[in-house]
């Protein structure tokens, strides 16, 4: 057995042993439950199809917290309203496996990580395909071009399209087909026309919004009074005024210095050089703040995944009170075992 294979074998064996121990102590782990809910709806009579009024019923299974199952079992061990859910439990274990598989890349690249990566890409592509068909093509394109079919079979409440919508969607369909010409062995150049249309429309939309929302509004927001008196009940307060004035001054100085740094037509010497160096400091502080916020975001995501492993899967903690007393026994038992 090669070195890496032996290492992985040891890691997997340790995980299996720990899981075995964990499953056998405390209240167990990694189980999901669902509640049976009987639903019914009254369907009115339809004179057009001569269908009488009737009641239709169906059963739904809704995921519930384990404590609801424990309470139901304590009240009546024979009850079937709340039951163990195989599908949700398998989903939970798949989630835990893929979380660990992705984390395993931090040790080194491996087949588990590549499997998780491939599954994420595959599922995402499939999901996008389904959403694109049912939420975009069906209501917008087919809903405009064949509204009676869509209303009869898919979306009964979809309003009838206006003539303008039908024309616009026909145009969109033609552009969409032309875009697919890129895949044709000959005539790929035809796809450049819809591409040019998309780029033109996007540029047109963006230039106006950037001028309105960024250039003009942000320039206006930069014109701040360097002395900004802060009044409370008509009386100027000294320290709030000092802080507000300082904040405004820092903004104005920062903008001017950063602009100076990016102004290359003049040598960065003397006053210009000092302003440019101040601008660099502002930029570095900005990058530092951005880095800090990014770290905070990534740690929050890591914490969420570890919470999932500890809470939903291993049942070591129960911060949201999903399982009540079982968790304390689980955590303490596991810690004692360690």
């Amino acid at each position: 057995m090669s070195g890496p294979t032996r290492t992985w074998a040891i890691i997997i064996a340790v995980i299996i042993v720990l899981l075995g121990v964990r499953m056998s102590i405390g209240g167990g782990m990694g189980r999901a439950y669902s509640q049976r809910l009987e639903q019914k709806a009254e369907v009115p009579a339809n004179s057009q199809t001569n269908t009488p009024a009737r009641t239709i019923t169906w059963t739904e299974w809704h995921a519930v917290q384990p404590k609801i199952y424990f309470a139901a079992q304590r009240a009546d061990p024979q009850q079937t309203q709340v039951a163990f859910s195989w599908s949700d439990t398998i989903g939970l274990w798949i989630g835990a496996f893929f979380t660990l598989a992705v984390f395993s890349f931090l040790y080194r690249d491996n087949a588990g990580y590549r499997l998780a990566e491939a599954v994420i890409i595959g599922v995402s592509a499939a999901y996008w395909g389904v959403i694109g068909f049912w939420d975009t093509l069906m209501p917008k394109l087919f809903g405009a071009l064949v509204p009676s079919f869509v209303q009869a079979h898919v979306m009964p409440s979809l309003p009838n399209p206006s003539t303008a919508t039908v024309i616009a969607m026909t145009f969109a369909l033609v552009l969409g087909v032309l875009l697919l010409m890129r895949l044709a062995p000959k005539g790929g150049w035809i796809s450049l026309w819809p591409m040019a249309f998309i780029i033109g429309v996007t540029a047109g939309l963006k230039i106006v919004s950037h001028i309105e929302g960024d250039l003009v509004a942000q320039t206006v927001a930069t014109f701040k009074p360097l002395i900004s008196p802060q009044r409370i009940e008509g009386v100027v307060e000294i320290w709030p005024t000092v802080w507000a004035s300082l904040a405004n001054t820092l903004v104005v100085v920062g903008v001017l210095c950063c602009l100076t740094y990016f102004f290359f037509s003049v040598d960065h010497k003397g006053v210009v050089g000092r302003a440019a160096r101040t601008g660099i400091m502002y930029l570095m502080i900005t990058f530092g703040a951005a880095f800090g916020f990014t770290v905070m975001g990534r740690v929050a995501l890591l914490a969420a995944r570890i919470e999932f492993l500890f809470d939903d899967w291993l049942w070591l903690i129960d911060p949201a009170g999903k399982r009540t007393i079982e968790v304390a026994a689980s955590a303490v038992s596991m810690l004692c075992w360690w």
């Binding site: 979809l158 929302g213 916020f293």
Partner: protein
């Protein structure tokens, strides 16, 4: 010193990964078992979000756009929970939309967690409605500036929007006294500011909860174009503390429901991770300067 520098220079980065995992997992275990969270002092940006919702009269329609997916749920779901919690407690009408395909699922999850669980008197279609996802990014924003129902003709469950009581009096986005976007990227808060807030000439008031990556990009818009902002999990924790404080009984006889403490619980791992990072930065600098000094000594 030389030994320390030698160790740091040859340190396998996987030890740092392990240390980070422990720095995050340790506080999670401790907070998970004890239930204690760190105290939070709300910043003006978080307080502004709270005040923007609080200042509206009960029954005001609020547009909530869920522009994120489960990948950012660790940061943004606690914000979504608290925002919906405050809106529901104040009796506002909540109109949910999503410009990200996975948004509607997260909307349903939040509705189930907050409204259906703790506010069962609120009726779907009357007090709140999920209008689902619409593709088109900025195009959707441009359309709802003039005709909201053109972009969202039906609810997520397929009912015509014109028949939904919650949508009474809503013709365009400026009919909402407040727009809330929970944003993870594109399209998100930046596009809402550029295409809706700016284009409406200031008629549309907006607050946002955004990821840490987006926060520095959005700060320049606050407070002129953005009325309030929850930046990353820290902003979520501050806002969560504000909402819990305002909704707690006057005599503080009951602790908040643990499901409304999610962001504050995640500040424990933040503390652990940040302490480790500060320590590593200091150690890294010591190693760097020590190595440079040794090199300079050897050269001379």
């Amino acid at each position: 010193m030389k030994t320390l520098v030698a160790i740091l220079e040859k340190l396998d980065r996987r030890w740092i990964f392990l240390a980070m995992a422990l720095a995050v997992a340790g506080p999670i275990l401790i907070i998970g078992i004890t239930g204690k969270t760190l105290p939070e002092t709300p910043t003006p940006a978080a307080r502004a979000v709270y005040n923007a919702i609080e200042s509206l009269p009960p029954g005001s329609p609020i547009l909530l756009s869920f522009d994120f997916d489960p990948g950012s749920g660790g940061e943004l779901l606690p914000m979504a929970t608290s925002l919906v919690h405050q809106c529901a407690a104040r009796g506002h009408r909540m109109i949910f939309i999503a410009l990200w395909p996975l948004g509607p699922t997260l909307i349903d999850q939040t509705i189930k967690k907050v409204i259906q669980s703790d506010y069962p008197n609120l009726k779907e279609g009357v007090d709140y409605v999920n209008l689902g996802f619409q593709s088109g990014n900025e195009a959707v924003m441009k359309v709802i500036l003039t005709d909201f129902r053109k972009a969202f003709p039906t609810t997520k469950s397929g009912s015509a929007v014109s028949t939904v009581a919650a949508m009474k009096g809503i013709e365009r986005v400026s009919d909402f006294p407040l727009l809330i976007t929970i944003s993870a990227g594109y399209p998100g808060a930046k596009e809402w500011i550029q295409y809706v807030v700016s284009s409406s000439g200031g008629k549309v008031k907006m607050v946002t909860g955004c990821t840490g990556v987006q926060t520095p990009q959005l700060f320049p818009y606050y407070p002129a174009q953005l009325n309030g902002m929850l930046g990353a999990i820290k902003g979520a924790a501050e806002y969560e503390a504000l909402v819990n404080e305002s909704l707690a009984p006057k005599d503080h006889s009951a602790a908040p429901n643990p499901k409304y403490l999610e962001a504050q619980r995640r500040m424990g791992p933040q503390l652990g991770a940040h302490l480790l990072m500060v320590a590593l930065i200091i150690l890294g600098n010591i190693a760097f300067f020590a190595a440079r000094k040794t090199k300079a000594g050897a050269t001379s």
